[in-house]
Structures are given as structure tokens and as C-alpha cells.
């Protein structure tokens, strides 16, 4: 199949759009089963300590209550798999394991009742006595533990000492929350001692592995379904505590149990993006060429036990900083700071969105220091190979992204001096940054089946992979319709079920790159088998006719994508260039993003509609990261200050700038997979925040290094700056 096929890369209609807007798409929380019972939770009121007693007497008297689970009566659960690649849980300790409290909001009791309202009411009647212990919830108050394997090349210290130009700066990012629109939801149902779970997850097979282990079942006896998921951004990779508890309760009650987290529970118990403190040291020649880059990150993790028990979570900031620019000397150091908070996790572009905030910011400072244009500085340090491993990229077009982006934006008209553009009450600034995300691909399989139907054939494409709203349904339909040269209406796609051919978790922008080539491979097999029934090699392929000739009512094939071989010669990476215009009204602390231009190289685009929305959404995510989003915890009382969407601010319509995204055409990464596609789900966010901060500096000459760039921070920085 060639990548110049008629449909690949063009804008398709989302095939699942109609059932979504008409409410027919069934998300986990929409599942209704006979006898369904409903769960609600009691979250810990303290951040650290012990539960002394849980008094459920009043709650048990409340109407409709069926079951209350606490650590005293939860019953046995097996060990949970972790880190062995089969499934993940946020805590190796199962929920309600003992009396220990590690963070505020941790589930201390589960109430199941006939209705959600009765469950919530009864939960409010549960009385818990605690023995509180001292806690730390602020990364700046915590002690760090150094992680051991430190990537390095060359001799950073020596280079930093000798360099003509050096930069040494601290950048920070707060705890940010993925906030998918669909809250985390599970319906657990036991059917003849087998478990069926409808879950809002990024990974049905991960769920299956965790649940099977927890209940001592073989994997086949656990079925997990997630045909539709309403966003995730990394927060649904782990099998959540409430999912396990729903299955416990359903077994105990011999009734299906539905558990839907409240927004406040999502915001306090689901792992967020870890807070980081990053020190970047750069050494450069006078012409801007980098000599050394040292990147020291502190990021928060869960409690000390997390560090002691096993690999703690760390925000992988250095993943990108070590590969991006040509630089002979590099060193990364990583400390984790245990805090009494829910264990952090991966949030859209983990590592890139945080690491590039620091690195690209520091580069902008280097450009100012050296009197260089920020774009010219990037060009000067461009690397056509992974700067750390030295492997050449199989397909790399970053310079083209820079050039096209600059042209679309009008970058050449930029006057380098800060405070050089004004319009009415606002200073205008232009900034830019590099966007980057690795190409990821994992083993996957897809089944394609052709059914003889009246008037032709119908194709069913099936895989366990999950569409988070990102566009996999449409991408698979496009690939298969194209490969079999059939109209789109003839294709049905089935996703998100452990009974379907296995696929990896949706994460790291990997899924289209893993699953679409597998679908293509399946189609190739089918074609080969059916084409054998042609009467002449030049006879056009009519699948219905060929099936009839073969005497078959249907035919199917499974296609697979393999794991990447360890000794690959090439590296695979997506890149982009992002340009931003801001308007700043200093005395009002106001920063507004008015224009964003992004040009990306993501390999071959499979479907233009969903790729575009991924890139647009990524940019918007970046605007939120830059200007608004932060989860603050009161260091004295451990209160998560923003536990709803009126307080945890996401961009609203008025915050949305004019966004222009473009991708390079005809740049398939052909050694990466048969289609040449890498993912586009995350790269859109990666350069936005640093480009905004550099635009703010250009606008008013003030450097902001702590996200988000809120009015109070801008006013404080202005008060300290010598300019005004």
C-alpha cells in the first residue's frame, strides 16, 4: 500500500460523530444493568497519619445502603502487578489495605447503595477518627532523593567553567491536572464468577491484568470494555482504586456496581502532572553554538514508601533535553521529592511539556544574552540525529518547520528589542519555541473481516485499542477503506474490548502508529488471499465477486505491528516550530495570547480532520499550561485549594487565540511503520508555554520562569524589574 493513496491524509468525517452527538455512544457511566447499585466514597480529611476508627453506624441506617467497605472488612485482594508491563496501578498497595493515610482524599470508605444520591448521602454520614501525622505537600518544603541512572555525555562541569557565554536559570512548573471532561467511571459486573468491567480507561488489557491478579483469576475470565472514552490525557493509564473496589463490592453484593468519581475526587485522587523545579545551565560559544547543557530537575512523587518500595514516579523532563540539540556535553540529574499527595502520573506530553518549558526558556535567554535571534539560535544548534545516542533520524524536517512557521507568522519582521510594539494599552510580543515528541510504536494487532452482504461486502475492523476521542475510529476506517478501496460506509470499527485482538495502552501518541499499520497489514493479507481468485491479473478487484468465487461468506485476517527492534539504526522523532503573539497590559497583570502558528512534522498524516483537532487541542492545552492551570495545596492544612472546575481554571473560549496549525506533507517516516505515521496527540502542547513566556519577555522585557503566568506573578516581576 502506498502512502500516496487517495484517502490517507485527507480530511475525513469522524465516523463516530453521529452516535456521539446523538447520545448513542455508551461511555462507562452510561452503562445501565439490571440490579445496578451505586458507589460513593469517603475521602481522608488528613494528609498523613492513621485511621483510628471508622464509624459506619449512622450511614448503615440511611436509606438504600447495601454495603460499606472499609479497611476492616474489605476482604482479600491479591498483589497488584506493577512495572512488569502488564498493567499499572497508582499504588502497589490495594485500596483500603490498611489504616495508613498518605494523602488527603485517599479513599477510607466506600458506600454502595441503591441510588447514587443515597450512596452520597450515606457517605456523608460515615464518621472517621484519625491520628494525624506531620505532612509535606509543597515541593519546596520536601527533601529530594537522587535517582541513580543519570544520562550524561562529555564533561559538563569543565565546559561550563570554560565557556564564553553561560546561562544558569531556574524554571518551575506547578502540579497540573489532566481534567478529562469524562470523569473516571467503572461499572463492575460478575457473570458466573467471571468479571466484566466497563471502564473509562486508556488500556483495557492493563485493567484486565490488574483485575485478574487482584481476584486470582486467569486473564480470560476478566473482560474489560471501553468502547468510548471521553478524554484522558494520561490520567486513565492506571487501573484506579475505585475500579478495584467496584469489583470487590459487585462480588460481595452479587449485583453490578457503578462507580463514578466526582469532579473533586478526580482532582484530588487521580494522578496529576508532577510539580517540577528545574535548573538549566547552558554554556555556549559567542555565536550561540551550545557547548554544554546541564539539566537538574526536582519533581514530586508520592510518599517515601513510593521511593523505598520501587521505582518512584518522576516527571521525565530530561528525555527531551538530552536529544534535541547538538551539544557535546550533557548531564541530567533528577531528584524526586516525596509528598503527601496522590501519586503523580503521565499527563499529555510528560517530560516534553515540562522539560521544554525550562530548556526553551533558557535558550530564549541565551538568545537575548548573545544578541541572537531566537530562531537563528535554534537553527544553529539543530541536530539531524538524536544528540544523545547519535542515531540519525530516519525522517527529520525540523528546519523546514522553522522556515515555514516563521514565514506564516511573519517572524522576519520581528524587532528584537523588548517593548518595541504597542497597540493601545497593550505591549505586543512575539516568541517562538521548538516543539518535539518522540515517535512511539508498540506491538499491536488488528483483525479485519469482510462479510458478504447484499450488494457487496461489509468490513469490520477490530482491536482492543482505545479511542480517547482522539480519532482512532476514523483513522482505522480511513486506512482500511483506502487499502480495500471501499467507500467509508462499508467499514465498521470496533474498539476497546479485551476480547478483540490485543493493542497497547493509548499513550505517548503511539496508537495510530501502532494500530494503523497493523490494520494495513491485515488488509494486505486479505487482498492477497482474495486476489488469488481473480481470473486475470488485470481484472479489477470486486471483493464480493471474489468471495463468491471462493465460495466464502466471510473472510478475516489479523495484521500485526512488532515491537521496535533493540538495535534499530535510526531514531524516530516528531518536531515542530511554534510561534506566538501576546498582548500584555502590565499594570493589570494581563497576558493574552492572540496568535499561535505551528508547523509540525509528524510523519504521514492518516486523517487530516482528527490530526488537526489533536494539534489545535494541544496548542490550547499549552495555553492553559502557560496562563492558568495549577493545583495549589495549602501547606498548612493540605487542602487542595482548587478542587472543582470553577477554581482549577482551564481556558475558556475567550482565552482561545487565533490558531494556525499546519503539518508538512509527504514526509512519511517509512522505516517507522508501513504507513510512515508518527502520532500527533501530544506534540501540539510542547512548545507553547515557552513560546508564550518568550513573547511576554519580548513584549515588556520581563522574564517569567514560573508557570502559570498569572497576574500576581506578572505584577510581582514588574515590581522587581528595574524597568518600571
Amino acid at each position: 500500500m502506498s502512502t500516496t493513496s487517495p484517502r490517507i491524509g485527507r480530511p475525513a468525517e469522524r465516523i463516530e460523530a453521529r452516535i456521539k452527538v446523538t447520545g448513542q455512544a455508551r461511555y462507562a457511566a452510561d452503562v445501565v444493568l439490571p440490579g445496578l447499585a451505586h458507589a460513593a466514597y469517603v475521602g481522608s480529611a488528613i494528609a498523613c497519619g492513621r485511621v483510628l476508627a471508622v464509624d459506619t453506624a449512622r450511614a448503615e441506617q440511611a436509606g438504600g445502603v447495601l454495603l460499606i467497605l472499609t479497611h476492616d472488612n474489605r476482604g482479600p485482594l491479591g498483589d497488584l502487578p506493577n512495572g512488569d508491563g502488564t498493567g499499572l496501578t497508582p499504588d502497589p498497595r490495594p485500596p483500603l489495605a490498611d489504616d495508613r493515610i498518605d494523602y488527603r482524599g485517599q479513599i477510607v470508605a466506600m458506600v454502595v447503595a441503591e441510588s447514587p444520591e443515597q450512596a452520597a448521602h450515606a457517605a456523608s454520614l460515615v464518621e472517621v477518627r484519625y491520628e494525624p501525622a506531620p505532612f509535606v505537600v509543597d515541593i519546596d518544603d520536601g527533601a529530594g532523593t537522587r535517582l541513580s541512572d543519570v544520562p550524561r555525555r562529555g564533561d559538563c562541569a569543565a565546559a561550563l567553567r570554560a565557556a564564553p557565554v553561560t546561562i544558569d536559570v531556574l524554571y518551575s512548573t506547578p502540579i497540573q491536572h489532566p481534567c478529562p471532561l469524562e470523569p473516571h467511571a467503572t461499572v463492575a459486573h460478575w457473570v458466573d464468577h467471571d468479571l466484566v468491567v466497563y471502564d473509562s480507561t486508556q488500556w483495557v488489557l492493563g485493567d484486565q491484568a490488574v483485575l485478574a491478579r487482584a481476584f486470582g483469576l486467569s486473564n480470560e475470565r476478566v473482560r474489560v470494555l471501553a468502547p468510548f472514552v471521553g478524554g484522558s490525557f494520561g490520567s486513565k493509564v492506571f487501573t484506579a482504586a475505585h475500579t478495584l473496589l467496584a469489583a470487590v463490592a459487585a462480588r460481595r453484593l452479587e449485583r453490578p456496581v457503578k462507580s463514578v468519581l466526582r469532579r473533586s475526587e478526580v482532582l484530588t485522587t487521580v494522578g496529576p502532572r508532577a510539580a517540577t523545579r528545574q535548573r538549566i545551565q547552558l554554556a555556549a560559544e559567542r555565536d550561540g553554538r551550545l557547548i554544554a547543557l546541564r539539566h537538574h530537575t526536582r519533581s514530586h512523587c508520592a510518599t517515601e514508601r513510593d521511593v523505598a518500595d520501587r521505582d518512584p514516579f518522576y516527571e521525565p523532563t530530561s528525555g527531551i533535553t538530552r536529544v534535541l540539540y547538538a551539544c557535546p556535553n550533557y548531564e541530567a540529574v533528577h531528584d524526586v521529592v516525596p509528598l503527601h499527595l496522590a501519586k503523580p502520573g503521565w499527563m499529555r506530553a510528560p517530560g516534553e511539556a515540562t522539560g521544554l518549558w525550562a530548556l526553551e526558556g533558557a535558550l530564549d535567554e541565551l538568545a537575548c544574552e548573545s544578541g541572537l535571534d531566537p530562531l537563528a539560535l535554534r537553527m544553529r544548534n539543530h541536530s539531524s540525529r538524536d544528540a544523545h545516542t547519535g542515531k540519525p533520524y530516519a525522517s527529520e524536517h525540523l528546519r523546514e518547520c522553522y522556515e515555514r512557521g516563521a514565514e506564516r507568522f511573519g517572524w522576519s519582521r520581528r524587532e528584537p528589542r523588548p517593548r518595541s510594539m504597542r497597540d493601545g494599552d497593550a505591549w505586543i510580543g512575539w516568541g517562538m519555541a521548538t516543539a518535539a515528541h518522540p515517535g512511539n510504536r508498540d506491538p499491536a494487532s488488528v483483525r479485519v473481516r469482510l462479510d458478504r452482504e447484499r450488494g457487496g461486502v461489509h468490513v469490520t475492523v477490530a482491536t482492543a485499542g482505545i479511542d480517547l476521542g482522539t480519532g482512532l475510529y476514523t483513522a482505522l476506517a480511513v486506512v482500511v477503506a483506502d487499502a480495500l478501496d471501499l467507500p467509508g460506509e462499508r467499514v465498521t470499527v470496533e474498539l476497546g474490548d479485551t476480547r478483540l485482538p490485543p493493542a497497547p495502552m493509548t499513550g505517548g501518541s503511539n496508537l495510530t502508529a501502532s494500530v494503523a499499520p497493523a490494520a494495513l497489514a491485515a488488509c494486505t493479507r486479505l487482498r492477497r488471499r482474495l486476489l488469488a481468485f481473480r481470473r486475470a491479473p488485470d481484472e479489477s478487484a470486486d471483493w464480493a465477486e471474489l468471495l463468491d468465487r471462493a465460495g466464502l461468506g466471510d473472510i478475516e485476517a489479523i495484521g500485526t505491528t512488532d515491537a521496535r527492534p533493540p538495535g534499530e539504526r535510526h531514531a524516530h522523532h516528531s518536531f515542530g516550530a511554534q510561534f506566538v503573539e501576546v498582548r500584555v497590559v502590565p499594570e493589570l497583570g494581563r497576558i493574552r495570547v492572540t496568535r499561535v502558528v505551528g508547523v509540525f512534522d509528524v510523519g504521514q498524516v492518516v486523517d487530516a480532520t482528527t490530526t488537526r483537532s489533536q494539534l489545535l487541542g494541544g496548542v490550547l492545552f499549552g495555553v492553559g499550561q502557560a496562563l492558568l492551570e495549577q493545583q495549589v495545596h495549602d501547606p498548612v492544612h493540605a487542602l487542595p485549594v482548587h478542587a472543582d472546575l470553577a477554581g482549577y481554571l482551564l481556558p475558556c473560549h475567550a482565552d482561545v487565540p487565533d490558531i494556525d496549525v499546519e503539518w508538512l506533507d509527504a514526509v512519511p517516516d517509512v522505516t517507522f511503520n508501513a504507513i510512515g505515521c508518527r502520532g500527533a496527540g501530544e506534540i501540539g502542547i510542547t512548545g507553547v508555554a515557552p513560546a508564550i513566556a518568550s513573547a511576554v519577555h519580548h513584549a515588556i522585557g520581563v522574564r517569567l520562569r514560573d508557570l502559570p503566568l498569572t497576574p500576581d506573578r506578572l505584577l510581582a516581576a514588574l515590581a522587581e524589574s528595574p524597568r518600571e
Binding site: A45, G63, E117, A120, H121, S124, S264, E587, L588, G589, R590, R592, L628, V632, D634, V636, H637, L639, V641, H642, A643, A646, G647, L649, P651, C652, H653, A654, D655, T710, P711, D712, L715, A716, A719
Partner: protein
């Protein structure tokens, strides 16, 4: 959420009497504020008396005043052409707040009776005198970025969040009520919201079971040139970090009279009479506005993280007055 009974109010007198009779009963209007607080476990009324069907949904106007029913929707008030012409600050304040959906649902009385957004008030586990009198005030040692810089007490520092109330504060508005015992009151808006002092649990002077029936805006020449200016974290759909409602009566480039109230920075709608006084007779120019803004914030007290609000509010006052003075007419 605790189970509660729901009653639809039939007449003004019955509704007031029904709440008056039951200590744990409350009025329900659009529900956009109260229901949230019930779900959080902050309020737990045993009964809700719905006032939305009461005959309090009209805006009556003549050349002396506007009489606004308590159940007029915030959107309805904002869109009224005569309100827009005679009291533009009301419309601007309303449109600067909430979302379109919330404005369609919520009422004028509910708006001025909404509770603080202080996160400790909204968390049943935290010490909060406003929620549980005598339990303490977590903000005093906790996260105070959003706390008030004006009107606070050692017992409470919570910002009163209503934009509409900030506008009403400069309009000589009057609140009409019906009490549960059948009496009625006419309450000047000026004293309607209370300072927290040592009883922060009471936001207003209303008694239990006292139903707001109307708001009155007397016709006011100065209100025709009035304006609301608000700064918030997000570009829209967000509460004020600092806001100002202002009105100017100008004659040949001089200020004959001025009105200024602050929002987002104080424990109640904050009228700035000294600042208003300072403007009278002055040229309508930046220097006078700056001096007035300094006076408006003269008594402000910063805590650990909310000091920026003082500087910000000064700029907001200057900006509001400058924009208004530059308006034709």
C-alpha cells in the same frame, strides 16, 4: 447531599412563612449557588422553598425608578434596553460574570445572596467561622491569595464575590423584603451586606425566613455614565481578582460628582466615599484618578499572597475612571 423536602412557593407571604417556620429551611431560586453548596455538604437545608414561580419575575420601570423582581434572571436584567441605557454599570457587571447559561438560570436575589468562594468555606473539613461559627478561620494561616484586603477581621477574610452587588453599591439601590412574620422591610443596599467582624456567618442583615421581593434602583442622573471594569485570571467566566463600579458626572472636563465601589478585594461590596469626595471639582484626568485610587485602597491590608490585589485594584480604579471619562456623552 442530605435528603430534603421541596416545596414550591405559592405566594410571597406563604413562602416567607414556610421558611420562617422551619429553622433549617432555605429559599431556592435558580439554584446555581445553593445546590453546589448542598452537594459539597456545606449547606444542608432540611427543606427548600422554591421562589421561582412567585410573581417576582418582572422589571417595572418609570422615570423615577426601576423595580426589579427578586426572581428576574440575571440575563433578563442585563438585556433590558432601559437598564442598559440608564444604569449601564448593571449590565456590564452582569455580563462580566458567570457564563451565559448561568446568567439564564440564576436570579438577581440569588446573585446578591451568593456566598463567598473561599475554598475553606467550601470544604466541610476545614476550620471556617462562616460555615461553622467558632471553628476558626483557616485562611489566617493558610492560602490567602484570594483573600480580602479590605474589610477583613481576625475571624474572616473572605471576599464577597458578586459583581452585580458591586454595581448596586454605587446606585443607591434599595432591597425590599417580606418577613416570615408578615412584616416588610425596606433596606438601603449600603448597609445590606455586613462586615464579618466576629459574626462572619451572617453575610447580610436579612433574618431567617426574610424573603427578598424586589430591588429598587432610583433614577440617578450620574448612573447614566457608569461603568464596570473587572480583572480576572481567565479571560472570561471567572470571578474578579479586582473590579470597580464607577460613575461620573462631568462638566467641562471637571468632575461634579463621582461614585466608586470595589469588588473582588473586600468582604462586602465596597463603596469608596473618600475617593469619590476627592474627585469632586477636580479635572477628569489621570492625576485625579490616581489620587482617588490611592484613597480607595488607603486602608487595604495585605496578607502573605494577596498583596498584589492592592496594586491591581488601584490600577483597576484608574482604568475604570479613565475609560468612563473618555466616553462621549
Amino acid at each position: 447531599m442530605r435528603p430534603f423536602t421541596y416545596v414550591e412557593g405559592i405566594s410571597v407571604a406563604d413562602a416567607a412563612a414556610a421558611v420562617h417556620a422551619a429553622p433549617a429551611a432555605m429559599f431556592l431560586a435558580g439554584g446555581t449557588a445553593i445546590v453546589d453548596l448542598m452537594k459539597l455538604g456545606v449547606l444542608a437545608p432540611a427543606a427548600l422553598v422554591d421562589v421561582q414561580r412567585l410573581p417576582l419575575g418582572d422589571i417595572e420601570l418609570d422615570d423615577r425608578r426601576a423595580r426589579i423582581g427578586a426572581c428576574v434572571r440575571n440575563a433578563q436584567l442585563a438585556e433590558h434596553p432601559e437598564i442598559r441605557a440608564r444604569w449601564p454599570v448593571v449590565r456590564e457587571a452582569l455580563l462580566s460574570g458567570m457564563s451565559a447559561q448561568l446568567r439564564n438560570m440564576s436570579t438577581v436575589a440569588g446573585n446578591i445572596l451568593q456566598r463567598t468562594r473561599c475554598p475553606y468555606y467550601r470544604d466541610p473539613h476545614s476550620a471556617c467561622n462562616k460555615r461553622v461559627p467558632g471553628s476558626g478561620c483557616a485562611v489566617q494561616t493558610g492560602w490567602d491569595r484570594d483573600a480580602a484586603v479590605l474589610g477583613g477581621s481576625p475571624h474572616c477574610l473572605a471576599v464577597f464575590p458578586s459583581d452585580l452587588a458591586t454595581a448596586l453599591a454605587i446606585l443607591d439601590a434599595i432591597v425590599y423584603t417580606r418577613r416570615g412574620d408578615g412584616g416588610a422591610r425596606r433596606l438601603p443596599f449600603d448597609g445590606f451586606h455586613r462586615l464579618p467582624g466576629d459574626t462572619p456567618e451572617r453575610d447580610t442583615v436579612l433574618d431567617h425566613g426574610e424573603l427578598v421581593t424586589h430591588l429598587e434602583l432610583p433614577d440617578l442622573a450620574i448612573a447614566r455614565r457608569s461603568h464596570y471594569f473587572k480583572v480576572r485570571d481567565r479571560a472570561s467566566y471567572d470571578f474578579a481578582l479586582a473590579s470597580a463600579a464607577v460613575a461620573l458626572d462631568l462638566e467641562r472636563g471637571h468632575v461634579r460628582d463621582a461614585r466608586i465601589a470595589l469588588g473582588g478585594v473586600a468582604t462586602r461590596p465596597w463603596r469608596c466615599t473618600a475617593a469619590e469626595q476627592s474627585l469632586r471639582g477636580k479635572r477628569a484626568e489621570l492625576a485625579s484618578f490616581r489620587a482617588a485610587a490611592d484613597l480607595a485602597l488607603a486602608d487595604a491590608v495585605a496578607r502573605t499572597h494577596n498583596g498584589f490585589k492592592i496594586e491591581l485594584a488601584r490600577h483597576v480604579v484608574v482604568r475604570a475612571l479613565s475609560e468612563l471619562a473618555a466616553r462621549p456623552g
